[in-house]
Each structure stands twice: as C-alpha cells, then as structure tokens.
C-alpha cells in the first residue's frame, strides 16, 4: 500500500502542477469546437474535484447511483487477485502514472487519462487488465452482433455518477455479470472481453457521446423490428430480340398526344412528391430533439472493432447499451480520449473538432495514437511503414524518452477471474428475465423463455403518435408453445388479428387472420399444405362465402369457392344441434391433367345447387383460344304420359371446340350427368366438412389460448426433471406424499373432484340431521336413539330407491328417444342429405353409448345398494353416540 500511496502522491503533485500550468497558460484547448467556451469552468471544476478525491483516498468513493454499492458486494469472498496487486501490476501502475504525468505535462489542456480506476475492492487496477478475453461456450455468442445483443440484454444500465467524467470505479466483468448492472464502462469492458475472446480486434473506447447514447435513450430511434424489409426489385434482363422475332403491329396512336399525356403525368407525380417531402420535413422538425447544453461533454464508453480479424471488412463502433453497430463516422460519437484492449492503451492525439469523422484508426501511427507500452506488437495499418517508423523513433526520443526502459515490459495478465455465464443466466438474459425498451413510436418488451406462462417472449407495441398514447398495432412473439404459435399480430386500427404458427400445429395451421373468433365471419386461414392430406393451402371466409386453395392434389383441384345462402330457420326437433347454411353455389377449378385430352379435362365446374344446374368449362387446347363448355339442367320431370323423362337433348347444352361423335349421344350425356350428380354430393359434403373443420379449429384455438401449454425440450433437463417429478407426484396422489408440499390437482380433474367430494363427505356426520330434530341439550333416551337409528336407515333406503328410479327413468327416456329417431330415419331415409345422415349416425352412436352407460350404472347400483345399507347399519351400531344404547339393547 505504501507504494500506492507514494504513487498517489506523485500523481497528485503532477496534477497540481498541471493545474497550475493550465491556469497560467489560459485555455488553449484541443477539443471539439462547439464546447470550447464551456470547457474552462468545467475543467477547473473537474480538477478540483479530482484533487479533493485524491487528497484522501480512503474515503473518496463517490456515491454510485447503482443499487449494488460496495457493501452489498462480499469483498472477502472475492479471490486474492481482486484484493491486491501483484508486483507486475504495481510496476504497470507506476509506468501508467509516469505516462499520465508526462501526458498531462505535454497536453495540459486535455482531461486526465482514464488509466487505473479502483475496482470493487478499492484497489487501483489498470484498465487493460480488467479486460479478460473469454470465448463463451455458447455458439450463439460467437458473432459480435449476438454478443452485443447479449450484453445489452443481460445488464441493466446505470448512468454514470457524473455524466461529464469517467467513473472512479471500474468493477470486474465477473462482478458486473453477477449483479447484472453497470455503467457504460462496465458494459464495454464486458463486451470487449467477449469479443476479444471470440477473436475480434476489439477495443474499449473512452470518449464522448451524444445525450441519447449516453442515457440509452432510444425514443428517437426507429425500432429495428418495425423497419420493413425493402424488397429488392430485380431488374429483368432484357432478352435480345431473336432473329426471327415478329415485328410488333404498327402503332397508330398519335405520338404527340402520348407525349402530352406523359408530361401531365409527370407533373402530377412531381407535385405529389413535393407534397410528400414537405410532409416528411414537417415531421422531422417535430421529432428533432432539443439541443443539449452539455453536447460534446458527456462521457461515454463504447467498443471499437477494427477490420482485419474475423473477416471484418471495415472498422465499426458498437454501442454496448443498445448493441447497435455504427460506422466510425456516425454523428453520435463526438470524440475519443483513449482506447485500450487487454494488451495496450492508446491515447488519441487527433483533433476531434469534427466528431470522429476524421479519425484514422491506425494504431501503429504514433503521431495519431500515443501508446502506453511499447513492447506489445501492433501491426501497422498504414502502408508507408518505414517512414512511419522513422517518425516513431523521433517521437520516442522527444516525447517519451523514459519509456525506452519499458520496451520489454508486457501487460500483466488480467486479474479478473474467468468470466462465466451459467446456462440459466444465459437463457434468462435480461435481469429478472424482463426488459423494456422505448423506441420512437414503439415499445419493445422482452421476456426470458418460460418466464411467462403463455410463452410470450417479446412484445412490440407501435404507436401512432410520439407520446405513445394511441396504440397502432401490437406484435407478440412466443416461444415453446405447444400449439406452435409463433407470432401474434394485432392491428388496432383495423381490428385484424393475425396469428402465425410454426410447422407442427395439429391442424397444420400456418397463418390465421381474423377479426373475431366467431364462426362464419371474415377470416383467412393458411396451412402447411405438405402436412395436410388434402393439400389445403388457404381458406378464406366471409360471412357468405368460403374459398379454398389447394396445391399438389392428385385430382388437380386447386380452387373451391362455396357461396352460402341465408340460414333457413328450422323448427324441427331432430336437427337442433347443427343447422348448416344452405349452399347456393360451388365453384371448383382444376389444373390441367396432362394425361387427358384437353376436351375431356374439366377446368372449372360450377354447381348451381339452387337452380339445379351444373356448368362445366373444359381446358383450352394448346393451339386454341376457345374452350368447350357444357351445361346440364338436372330437372327430372315426367312427360305428359307420366313416364319419367330420363334425359332429353335440351337438358345438356354444350359447345364443343371440335364436335365429336360420341359426345352427342344421350347415353354419354346421361352418364356424365349421373357422375356429376355424385360429385356434386361429394363437393357439398366437402364444403360441409370444411365448415366443420373451421369450427373445430376455432374450438381448438380457443382451448389452446386458454391452456397455452409450453413444450419443454427433452434435453432441457432442468425443466424436464421438474415436470417428471411433477408427473410422478401426480401419478400417485394418495401413496405416501413426497416431502415437498402436495402437488396441485392432477390433470384428470373430474376424478380428482370426485375424490375431493368424497373426502369432504367422509367426516360428514350422517346423524347430524336426525340429532338436530331432537330437543337440544338433553340427554338422549334409548327410545330416541332407536328412533334416530331407524330414521337414518329408512332415509338411506329411500335415497337408494330414489336413485335407482332416477337411473331407470333416464334409461327409458334415452331408449325412447333413440327409437323415435330410428323411426324417423326409416321414414325419411330416401330424402335425407348426406349431412343429415351423418348427423343421424353420430347421434345414434352417442345415444347408444349413453344407454349402455346408464345400464351399467343401474346394475352397479343394484349390486351396491344393499351393501351400502348394511354398511350404514353397522356404522350406526358402532357410532359412539348411539353405542351405549345399542349395547344395552343387544
């Protein structure tokens, strides 16, 4: 510690000298232009502050805004390297001090360097040694963007105690990770460690940033998730005209008129553009920020990644708060004081009057970048190496003569422990698994997977106005949902909801957009057609129509459109459950079947069900422009003699591209019509099934939304183990309960419920109602006891009989109903539609099932009733309240 004190004193002296010198010289500053005026008082103040701090090192811990202060960190548990300095480190500190002194001597108008802040154990540590290059064991953290995203997610931001000064403390990345918060220096140190570990040429930068950046204020940034990808319009290659290409027909329109027309169009367009531009400008004005009085003075730390390693083509900055990358010319970065990695420390000697735009990141150039240690190799980026070398030597002699002795001095290894991120922490990411970021007109909320019971991991709310009051749309991302829901998009302005699913939904649903979950309203469902047997791609519904698109079917159907009519109000009892809407028209389109001649390959068929007409349109032959058509009128009338007319020529009107012999025959037409009739029935059935499917999907979706169960990977041992235990515990609720509190109700809820009822019932006092009839607070006589017993027994007898009767009555009712239905079916069998038939069949099977169950119950009841009676009797004999009377009696 003595060495340290000495050093501190030295430094203090140096500072004083420097201050004095500066005071004498007045303010000649090499600083960003715009701040020059304000700098004088600032610097003075800062210096004073520094002096005060240095004069008593023991107490000079400025209050951090952070919630984890020194006392919350268990210093004693930290390893030794955290609590003291090795010899080498001491030496390095001395070197750094002497460097600092020389620097302040040579550049008196610049702020002191950020070299060795105190760590969590109040030990000064050189900034470079705080960087601990580590390659994370997660493949997701191999690239810079994911690393930056992780850091920005994982830590929560704490502003600097003094926004105009670098912090006095710089904690180790391990501590920062542990407490998950930090200031910009903590952020960039951690990120830099990770990037260096991943092989990037990364540096921590101490410099000046814009207000937005320093305060991590994204409210003026457009949320990256809202930016729509601009589709790259590929310009069509112009095919050179072929040798024998036909000449276009002569254009007979007036060229003058055309020109006039285009001129007019252009004018309108220009006007439109101008208006748009004005609008935009106006908007921009509104959004423009107020000017910051401290612009250019706010200290910030970020990460610089130089080109060269890991195939980085161009150097760039990463803001560790937001994980955004910026070009080195970006407006947000206003100046650089110094930068360092785990090997060396460089001081920027270039003028930052034009922000960072003119900076050259050639760290081997000693004119632009003053290095601290000579020994570390730094490849020269510039091509004129020899010349630079020459200059280098000169500078050495002039500026840093003393440093020659340090030539062989290497940066000591990092004092920081290995950086470790536990898998849980990695998965949870944000502190407590939740993070909210406010963007311009948007709010982004993130959660860790499995944190929300419905699997919500991300929500983006977009607003119409800057104040974020009017919601425009909400996008919610989900993960690990059992129903494979991936994204839910709610458009508030139109009320349209769009759900996106990953492959694997039980109904192969891909996209579901709807306004309400009510059936027979506007909705579009898209499916993974490969997962479906019928190859359905999309189903669009409106209140009156349903359109289905198919792909890859063996019958070449690709389109079916069904129009429904108004629901007929049926008052009959038998079809009370479902009353399908009548189908007015079914249109089906088929793709060309190459195996059939075009004249026999139907392209479109329309069933006009209400008009009893069927229209067919065939495919067009390869060299024709017209296609065959055929129309069937399926009127089955009787002629004047009362005979049924099977087929007459006017029942089939056809237009044939090439009239054929056999198609004129009535027999052919009749057969075709019969076939079509069958197919019509099938199509109607299909339409009806589609409707049912929609209902089913809607029901399923509602259930899924309510339950929102999450899937857990079988490799996820932690969660899966839990669920295994959970399941095991559920499997045997009665068998000796495990030490932890008893599990919640198991899935077969009904069984559990009954069990529960029984448990409640058990302690019920079966004698209570009878005892209550007796006059209170009187001793029971034997007679009374007998009466109580008899009453109780007769009561149970009555109840058992009642129950038997009840079951019997229900049984009879069901049977009767079934018989009635069967009778109805027998009578109407001929006129029934397919749907009705299906309904009937399903009803029958259900009714049979109910009857069977009732029968079983009745039998069981008959068996059990006497036993129950006997059991109660025995119980009554043994009842403590009655036992004495009984004994006597017996």
């Amino acid at each position: 510690m003595e060495v340290l004190k000495e050093k501190v004193e030295e430094e203090e002296e140096a500072e004083r000298e420097e201050a004095a010198v500066r005071a004498e010289r007045g303010e000649k500053v090499v600083r960003p232009m715009e701040v020059r005026r304000e700098e004088a008082p600032m610097t003075q103040e800062m210096l004073r502050d520094l002096e005060r701090k240095l004069s008593d090192t023991e107490m000079a811990i400025p209050e951090k805004l952070s919630t984890f202060t020194k006392d919350t960190i268990a210093i004693s548990k930290l390893p030794l390297s955290y609590q003291s300095n090795t010899l080498k480190e001491e030496h390095l500190l001395q070197v750094a001090d002497s460097f600092s002194r020389q620097y302040s001597h040579l550049c008196p108008d610049r702020v002191p360097l950020f070299l060795h802040p105190l760590n969590e154990c109040e030990v000064p540590k050189f900034v470079s040694t705080t960087i601990r290059p580590t390659l994370m064991p997660y493949p997701e953290l191999y690239n810079w963007d994911s690393c930056a995203q992780f850091v920005s997610d994982f830590l929560s931001m704490v502003p600097l105690p003094d926004p105009l000064k670098p912090p006095s403390h710089l904690y180790s990345p391990t501590t920062v990770l542990k407490y998950q918060e930090g200031n910009c220096f903590d952020f960039s140190t951690l990120l830099c460690s990770m990037l260096l570990g991943a092989g990037y040429d990364a540096y921590c930068v101490n410099g000046y940033g814009s207000q937005d950046m320093c305060q991590m204020d994204l409210t003026r940034d457009v949320c990256p998730l809202t930016v729509k990808h601009q589709e790259v319009v590929q310009e069509e290659e112009k095919v050179p005209p072929k040798k024998y290409a036909i000449k276009p027909p002569r254009d007979l329109t007036s060229r003058f008129q055309q020109e006039q027309e285009t001129k007019k169009q252009e004018e309108i367009k220009a006007e439109e553009e101008r208006r748009l531009r004005e609008e935009e400008e106006r908007l921009l004005d509104v959004e423009k920020a107020k000017t910051d009085p401290l612009h250019g003075l706010r200290v910030h730390s970020w990460v610089l990644v130089l080109s060269g390693k890991r195939e980085v083509p161009e150097s760039f900055f990463i803001d560790p708060f937001t994980a955004h990358s910026y070009s080195t010319q970006d407006d947000h970065f206003l100046g650089i004081e110094s930068l360092w990695n785990h090997k060396n420390y460089w001081v920027n000697m270039q003028d930052c009057w034009n922000c960072c735009k003119d900076l050259v990141f050639d760290l081997g150039d000693p004119v632009r970048w003053e290095y601290l240690l000579l020994g570390t190799e730094k490849s020269h980026l510039s091509l004129t190496e020899e010349e630079e070398d020459g200059l280098n030597d000169d500078d050495d002699v002039e500026n840093l003569g003393k440093e020659d002795e340090d030539k062989s001095f290497d940066m000591p290894p990092s004092w920081v422990e290995q950086i470790e991120i536990s898998p849980e922490a990695f998965e949870t990411r944000c502190p407590n698994g939740k993070k909210v970021i406010q963007y311009k007109r948007a709010k982004l909320e993130k959660w860790a997977p499995y944190l929300n019971s419905n699997g919500l991991v991300c929500r983006l709310t977009t607003y119409e106005d800057l104040e974020c009051t009017k919601t425009l749309e909400i996008k919610e991302w989900f993960q690990n949902r059992e129903d494979m829901l991936e994204l839910k998009h709610i458009d508030k302005s139109t009320g349209l909801n769009v759900d996106y699913f990953k492959p694997g939904h039980p109904q192969a649903l891909r996209v579901h957009s709807y306004k309400s979950m009510q059936p027979e309203t506007d909705r579009i469902m898209e499916f993974y057609d490969r997962a479906r047997v019928d190859g359905l791609v999309k189903r669009e519904e409106t209140s009156k129509t349903m359109t289905e698109y198919y792909r890859g079917r063996s019958d070449f159907l690709f389109y079916r459109h069904v129009s429904f009519g108004d629901r007929v109000k049926k008052l009959s009892l038998n079809s009370a459950e479902s009353n399908p809407r009548p189908i007015v028209k079914i249109t089906e389109r088929f793709a060309r079947n190459p195996e059939q001649p075009a004249d026999e390959d139907v392209a479109e068929r329309v069933f006009l069900i209400s008009e009893e007409r069927i229209q067919l349109r065939y495919h067009c032959r390869d060299d024709h422009i017209t296609a065959s058509k055929r129309e069937f009128l399926r009127r089955s009338e009787a002629d004047n003699k009362g005979n049924k007319i099977v087929m007459t020529p006017d029942m089939c009107i056809s237009f044939e591209v090439e009239p054929m012999e056999h198609t004129k025959k009535l027999l052919y037409q009749y057969e075709a019509m019969m076939k079509l009739k069958n197919e019509e029935k099938l199509s109607r059935h299909q339409a009806w099934e589609s409707e049912l499917e929609v209902l089913e999907i809607l029901k399923l979706r509602e259930e899924e939304e309510e339950e929102h169960r999450l899937t857990i990977s079988i490799y996820d041992t932690k969660r899966n183990e839990k669920s295994k235990e959970y399941r095991e515990a559920m499997g045997s609720p009665q068998a000796d309960p495990p030490p932890p509190p008893p599990p919640p109700p198991p899935p077969p809820r009904r069984v559990m419920h009954e069990e529960h009822l029984r448990q409640v019932e058990a302690p019920l006092d079966y004698l209570a109602p009878f005892l209550a009839q007796l006059p209170p607070s009187e001793k029971m006589t034997r007679w009374q006891a007998m009466r109580v017993k008899d009453e109780c027994l007769s009561d149970i007898k009555q109840r058992l009989i009642d129950k038997a009767n009840l079951i019997q009555a229900r049984f009879e009712k069901e049977t009767q109903e079934l018989q009635k239905k069967q009778q109805w079916y027998q009578e109407n069998q001929v006129t029934l539609t397919v749907e009705d038939e299906d309904l009937y069949l399903s009803y029958c099977s259900q009714a049979m099932f109910r009857i069977r169950i009732l029968e079983q119950r009745l039998n069981r009841h008959k068996e059990l009733a006497p036993l129950k009676y006997l059991a109660l009797e025995e119980k009554l004999y043994k009842d403590p309240r009655l036992v004495e009377f009984m004994k006597v009696f017996v």
Partner: protein, 523 residues
C-alpha cells in the same frame, strides 16, 4: 375328345349374336333405356363377353375398335384369328377352347392379361409383340419342353404365370427351373413364390443362368451397336454427306471399273493410285465435315425460327383468350339481363346491343388473327430467304470441292495414260521386265485399245463423282423446298383452324342469343 356338346351345332359369330351380346352386357336401368333408344355402336363397346356360345371360328369382330376386354372362353375355337383390328385389347380370355398353336396375336401390343388355359398348345411362341404382358395362363395344355420357359424371359413385366397341368409340370425340377430363369415372377400356378425358394433356385441353376445372361448380353450389345450405327448414318444422311467420311466413294469408283483394276497392275500405277486415293479421301472428308457443320447451322436456324413463331403464336393466343374471357363475363351478364327484361322495346335494344358486342368480338378476334398472319408471313419469308441462301452456299461449296475431286481424277487420268502409253511402247519394244497378268497384257495390243481402256475407266470415275454430286444437290434442294412448303402449309392450316374456331364460337354465342330471343317471343 369327349366334349359333351360335340353333337351341338357350332354357332357362327354373326352380327346378330354380337348385337345380342352387346345389348345384354350394355348399360342397365335408365341408361339402358337410353341406350336401346339410340342403339349402341360396336366401336363404343369396351368389354365383350362371348362365353359358352359354341363358337368355332372367331369372326366379325373388326368393328370393335376400342375393345379393351374380350372373353371367348368355353367355346370350341381351334385357331386364333380375326383379332388383328382389336389393337387396344388389354384382357383376352381364350381358355377352354381347342386351340393348338399360339398365333394371330402380333398386333395386340397392349395386351396385359392373356389366358389360354385348357387348350392343346404344345409350344410357347409367337408372343413377341406382347411387350406389356403381365399375366399369362397356360395351364392344362400340352407343353412338354422346359426350353419354352426361356422364351418367356423376354417379357419384362411378366409377374404371374400358370403352367400346371402341362407335362412339364410333372418334372421334378419344374418349380426351381422357372424360379431361376424367371426371377421377376411373383406368382406361379396361383401361388406366391417365396424368397427362400428363389434363392435356392438361383443357386441351383447359377451356371445355366450365367451362360444365358452372357449370351443375352452379347446379342443385346450387338443390337445396340447396330442401332447406333444406323442412327449415325441417319444423321449423316440428314446432312446429305453420308459415307463421305472415308474412302467409300473412291472404292465405289473402282468397284465396277474392270479396266482400272487391270491397269493397277502396271508398274508405278499402284503408288500413283495410293497417292490419288489419299488426296481424294482428304477432299471427301472436307466435304463431310463441311456438310455436318452446315447441317448444324441449318438446324440452329430452324430452331430459332420455330421458337420465334411459337412465341408469336402463343402471345397471340393469350391475347385471344383474354378477349374471350372478358367477353364471356359480359356475355353472361347481358344474357341474364335479357332474360330478366320484360319490356319489349328494352329487350330489343338489349338484344341489338349484345349482337353488336358479338360482332365486335368477332372483328377483334379476326383482326388479331390477320395481324398474326401478316407478321408470320413476313417472318416466314425472311426465314425462307435465309435458308435458301444457306442451302445455296452449301451446294456451291460442295460443288467446288467436287470439282477438286474431278481435277484430281483428270490429273490421275493423264498420269495413267502416260504410264500406259509408256508401257505399251515398252511392250511393243519388248523391253518390259515384269510379268503382267494375261488379261492386262491383252489390253496392250495397240494404242487405241489402251487409250480406250484408260478412257473408259476415267469416264466411269467421273460419272460416279457426278452422280454423287447430283444426289447431294437434288436431295438438299428437295429438303429445302419441302421444308418451306411444310412451313407454309402449316401456317395456312393454322390460320384456317383458327378462323374456323372463331366462326364456330361466334356462331355458338349468337345461337345462344337467338335461342333466348325465340323463347322470349314464345313466352
């Protein structure tokens, strides 16, 4: 021969019998009613059953062009005949007859299922045409030789075979043999062949099969070779330079040239001949290569032309289709409107309007078509010019090369003449050392003889060259004119078809309107 119905009179397959059968087996119920009303044409029948009819001779089946399935079982047929026209036949049942030889099936290339059960066949053959054969039933016959099985190896699709009840089925090796030699067979004598059996059979007959396979492969390879050669020759013929890629022309020159061959025995002539041949062949090769190159160029030209024409036609067709689709929409609407209209004046107005629309459509489609015709005509003319030029160039160049050949021949002739005369002189002087064959020496009687002989040879050679040249030129020219004619004809046909189509369509539409009007008026 103890047929129960030996005494029964054989029936003749005549029109009535067939009509009856067709009527019986035709559609039933309502459809049958219709069918009877209209009558059924024999060529619409797909399946026919003629069993237990005591038929002796198959006859009168030629009208059943589209027949797929024919049952002639349980008759007394003795000879397979009269089935030549039934080329679509897939299923043929001739079981329980008195057939002695398989014949008359050479046109039934689509046959998949053939049953000849219970006949008197002793040899399997004449089935070569039945490449799609899958099921063959030959049980209860008189096949006695195992080698008949090998004949069946050529049917790649054969899966089911029955041979039980034949003498060969009695042989102990019967099953193994068949399994080994027909490895693709799945069912034999109504039973599935198990894999174990197959393996065993294969091991047992391995040598025989290998040998057979070897032979089959060899003959297959030979066939392939021949085909390849034929194809190549065809290709060369298309380029009009066949057989010019060698000494074929030169050899043919000397093939009939008696004198020339005789003269070859003269001293110094063989060397001369060799040199001449080498040069000649080189020129021939030049012609050959040039011909192939030109052929390629013509092909490219033709392809581009066809492609462009097709594109133009497609484009035009799309336009036409669009117009018609648009019209059809309007058509339906206006038909409905007319149907709903009750006021007479309005009705007439609407009808008139619609007829105007129809005329407009007609005009539009016809304009499109005329436009296309004009465009195509121009293109075709350009193509014609180009291809003519190409052909003319080709002929010209070939002719100049042929002229080189002729020069060579002339040169050779002069040399030969010189040598001949020298030899003659030597012979006359009696200085000749070598012995010449007698017939050669006979030429050297006097100057006229020898000059005549050499001249004859020369003339023959020139004739051959001229013939070849003429052949090439005529064929090339005729190809060219045929091509151009075909293109013109195709275009005319296309145009007529389209015009007809348009007319037909417009007539149909107009008819629809008229019908509507009529019914309106009647109402």
């Amino acid at each position: 021969m103890n047929w129960l119905y030996d005494s029964v009179e054989p029936r003749v397959m005549d029109e009535d019998l067939l009509k009856l059968a067709v009527g019986e087996q035709g559609p039933r119920d309502e459809a049958g009613q219709l069918a009877r009303q209209e009558g059924i044409l024999f060529k619409d029948v797909l399946s026919l059953r003629l069993d237990f009819q005591n038929i002796l001779r198959i006859d009168s089946l030629w009208q059943f062009e589209n027949l797929r399935k024919l049952q002639l079982d349980n008759n007394i047929i003795e000879k397979i005949e009269g089935l030549e026209r039934l080329v679509h036949l897939v299923w043929l049942d001739l079981s329980f007859n008195n057939i002695e030889a398989i014949e008359g099936l050479d046109t039934l290339v689509n046959l998949e299922d053939l049953s000849l059960f219970n006949n008197r066949i002793s040899k399997i053959d004449s089935l070569d045409a039945l490449v799609k054969l899958q099921v063959l039933s030959l049980g209860n016959n008189e096949i006695s030789h195992m080698m008949n099985i090998i004949y069946l190896r050529r049917f790649k699709d054969l899966r089911t075979l029955s041979l039980s009840g034949n003498p060969i089925a009695e042989e102990e090796d019967y099953k193994m043999f068949i399994c080994a030699y027909l490895p693709d067979l799945v069912y034999l004598d109504f039973r599935r062949i198990d894999d174990h059996m197959k393996e065993l059979a294969e091991i047992k007959h391995q040598y025989g099969i290998d040998e057979l396979k070897q032979r089959e492969n060899l003959s297959q390879a030979q066939l392939d070779d021949e085909r390849a050669q034929r194809e190549e020759l065809e290709e060369h013929k298309a380029a009009f330079v066949e057989r010019l890629n060698g000494s074929f022309l030169f050899d043919s020159m000397y093939a009939e040239d008696v004198e020339g061959n005789k003269l070859a025995h003269l001293p110094g002539v063989s060397e001369l001949l060799q040199a001449y041949k080498d040069k000649f062949v080189i020129i021939c090769l030049n012609i050959f290569e040039y011909g192939l190159k030109q052929q390629e160029m013509r092909k490219v030209e033709l392809d581009t032309f066809n492609e462009c024409v097709q594109e133009a036609i497609q484009e035009n067709r799309e336009q036409g289709k669009r117009r018609i689709a648009k019209f059809e929409e309007a058509h339906l609407l206006s038909l409905n409107a007319i149907r709903d209209e009750s006021e007479v004046t309005n009705l007439e107005m609407k009808v008139a309007e619609h007829s105007k629309d129809i005329t407009e459509l007609f005009d539009m489609l016809m304009t499109l078509e005329m436009q296309l015709v004009e465009q195509l005509e121009e293109t075709i003319n350009t193509f014609e010019r180009n291809i003519m030029d190409l052909v003319a160039l080709f002929i010209e160049n070939v002719q100049s090369l042929m002229a080189q050949c002729r020069d060579l021949e002339n040169h050779h002739h002069e040399k030969l003449l010189e040598i001949s005369i020298n030899t003659l002189e030597k012979i006359l002087k009696g200085e000749l050392d070598e012995d010449l064959p007698y017939d050669v020496r006979a030429l050297f009687v006097d100057k006229d003889t020898i000059v005549n002989a050499v001249g004859t040879s020369h003339d023959l050679h020139l004739l051959k060259i001229d013939n070849r040249e003429d052949e090439l030129v005529t064929r090339t020219n005729s190809w060219c004119s045929h091509l151009v004619d075909a293109i013109h004809k195709d275009e005319i046909m296309r145009n007529r078809r389209r015009v007809k189509e348009i007319h037909q369509y417009v007539d149909h539409v107009q008819n629809e309107l008229d019908n509507l009007e009529c019914s309106e008026i009647i109402d």
